[in-house]
Subunit: 158 residues, 2 copies
């Protein structure tokens, strides 16, 4: 069953879009299952990853920008992580209100554990592709997103 000219919905980009949706869903489901034993979810794990990436120098707003999400989406997750004792807040010398989000020791341990669980899955998933091909694919996705967002911006101003 291939999707040919069955409907007016037949653009070469559509197959890619559908595959992005499917892969996104599969990644979230897999991640949820993977880190559930640690009391995490995909979303909380991702936020921990962003905090690790910034080494505790980011406010919630910066985290959200880096992840491409709305501030409030990240804010709620961070608040829940704080309630669970996995992250905390440090005073920000540059901004009294925008505190810096840092991992607690417990948060660090959980994040390291999640990373260990993920590595073999990532190896197996990416193993079939040459590193070059993997990078090329990533670059192509980024380029597609760049042009999509340009379109969205232009479209709203015209």
């Amino acid at each position: 069953m291939t999707d040919d000219a069955r409907s007016p919905f037949d653009h070469p980009a559509n197959a890619l879009v559908l595959e992005v949706f499917r892969l996104n869903g599969a990644l979230i489901r897999c991640g949820d299952a993977l880190v559930k034993p640690l009391g995490l979810t995909s979303a909380r794990w991702q936020v921990l990853g962003s905090i690790a990436h910034g080494r505790g120098t980011f406010s919630v707003a910066r985290l959200a920008d880096n992840m491409g999400l709305a501030r409030q989406s990240v804010q709620r997750i961070v608040d829940e992580l704080a309630e669970a004792g996995l992250v905390g807040f440090e005073p920000n010398p540059a901004h009294k209100r925008a505190k810096l989000v840092v991992m607690t020791p417990r948060g660090q341990r959980v994040f390291v554990r999640a990373t260990e669980l993920w590595r073999p899955i990532a190896d197996a998933m990416a193993g079939g592709l040459a590193l070059r091909e993997l990078r090329k694919t990533t670059d192509n996705l980024a380029a597609l997103r760049g042009r999509l967002e340009d379109q969205a911006d232009n479209g709203s101003s015209e």
Copy 2:
């Protein structure tokens, strides 16, 4: 700002995963904005697309399988589309309970209109990539998903 060895989270697949998340989010936001004037959302538009793809020969459960989503996720959208008068139900000769989901004439008009709005955006987004490259990228994503899901399956049984 590149993400080097700042944390234990440093696998070549991670850049791709993050880009899939970002592109997925960008596509949904763009789609929501695009079809909002038609009274649609990304999710409803996608379900209409699946119905069009099956030409009205699919039950809700089949639609969900095709989209890689849980049945209930699709069920709610279909119910809402039915309430909005965009889809209807035909009796299924093979199953009294599992009715076939079909577009109403109004649903068809809305879907065609959405497709017209999407085409120039898709052209602009994919335009920077050769058709070959676009297909290759799509295939790579599908391959990654296949291996990811295999891992998930094996992992649960071992």
